[in-house]
Symmetry: C2
């Protein structure tokens, strides 16, 4: 690993730790020790503290006064709350986009949709790249919607949602097709400016994805119990 | 000023600077210099950097790589986007609360409503306290709704919204009554679980408040132009 650009060191540390949390290398509720990480990455403790604040903003860790940082939990309640929030924000984004797009505004989104569709057909495309490509598709909307607060809030939820996608899609490969169908349905309903359909498509997929994540989580809990 | 508790020093610095931004002592687009603040408050530069990350999360400043921190702008576009976001989140909160409340769940909210009503009748109650009391009323909902992501997201928008309230209410004292009427209407519609009314009340007040802020902003711009 290579931490070069001095002014974004804390961002780089946050990215590094964030990836570990998203793919599950750092487990829910695991403690994150500032000093240990500073030593491992050969960076200052101050830079690690800044990185932890960035990760807290991205909902991947919690920082407790006097107790330090802990990887966010993955309880059924938290996942359910996270999806409630994310569904609400996506519905807002989808409707603003449907209201505002003109002329060729949707072109970047349609191009990214082709990329995602191709990826879904390639069985061995890396999962992390597929998940990222889907987020990229969504983020194309911000160029049209132009609400920096919505953009930032959604960007801050992206890692926590990616973490749940990683959990479910790595165990349910066939779900990639479901995900791609959602993206296609959503883009079509935005093109035709059908608010009711946008809301229904996002809600249905969000609920489906949440149920999937909760199912996988239950399996893992059961498996862990059998090993005990 | 007194910065004692060592583990929340950055939070205290953030609070201190945040108040200055909210009441307008630090102006939109004004640069915030790490070294200068560290010197003024006699704290480490690292603590100031952490405080700036907290303020960025709360939408009060922007941090640009290599250029440092700048107080968030107050353009018409930004205010409009901010209110779009806040109205959306409050509608989500109001509806979740209407769905979930049982028995005496609304009691803390009704008690806080009495506090706010009394404050509005007292002509000389400090504005900052009145604004805070209103936010406290809203935040009582979280005990019932129990969505930590929604709670955190709303909490992060509170300072930026407080800043716009401060701007408008300090110049339109009579608007306090309008604000109090909104709180009362909202609580009544939550009590009767009327989703349509909740949406309408929040949207109407949000739009009214946004127009007020934009009007005050225009006046200030005109006044500044006349002085030039």
């Amino acid at each position: 690993m290579n931490f070069q650009a001095p002014d974004s060191l804390s961002e780089q540390i946050a990215q590094h730790l964030g990836k570990k949390i998203i793919c599950g290398a750092l487990k829910p509720k695991e403690r994150i020790q500032e000093l240990k990480i500073a030593g491992e990455l050969d960076v200052s403790r101050g830079s690690v503290r800044e990185a932890l604040l960035i990760l807290e903003r991205r909902h991947l860790i919690n920082i407790y006064p006097r107790r330090g940082a802990v990887v966010s939990g993955l309880s059924a309640e938290l996942i359910s709350s996270l999806y409630d929030m994310y569904i609400n924000l996506l519905i807002m984004l989808g409707n603003k986009l449907a209201d505002k797009w003109q002329g060729h505004d949707l072109k970047p989104m349609l191009e990214q949709l082709r990329v995602v569709n191709r990826m879904a057909e390639t069985a061995d495309a890396p999962l992390a790249e597929f998940i990222d490509a889907g987020f990229e598709l969504m983020s194309k909307a911000h160029q049209v919607v132009e609400n920096p607060y919505l953009e930032e809030t959604l960007a801050n939820f992206r890692p926590a949602i990616a973490r749940t996608y990683y959990l479910s899609l790595s165990r349910r490969r066939d779900e990639k097709l479901q995900t791609v169908r959602f993206y296609n349905d959503l883009v079509v309903s935005v093109q035709s400016r059908e608010s009711v359909k946008i809301n229904r498509v996002i809600k249905a997929y969000g609920d489906h994805q949440r149920a999937l994540v909760l199912g996988v989580l239950q399996e893992l809990t059961d498996a862990a119990a059998m090993l005990r």
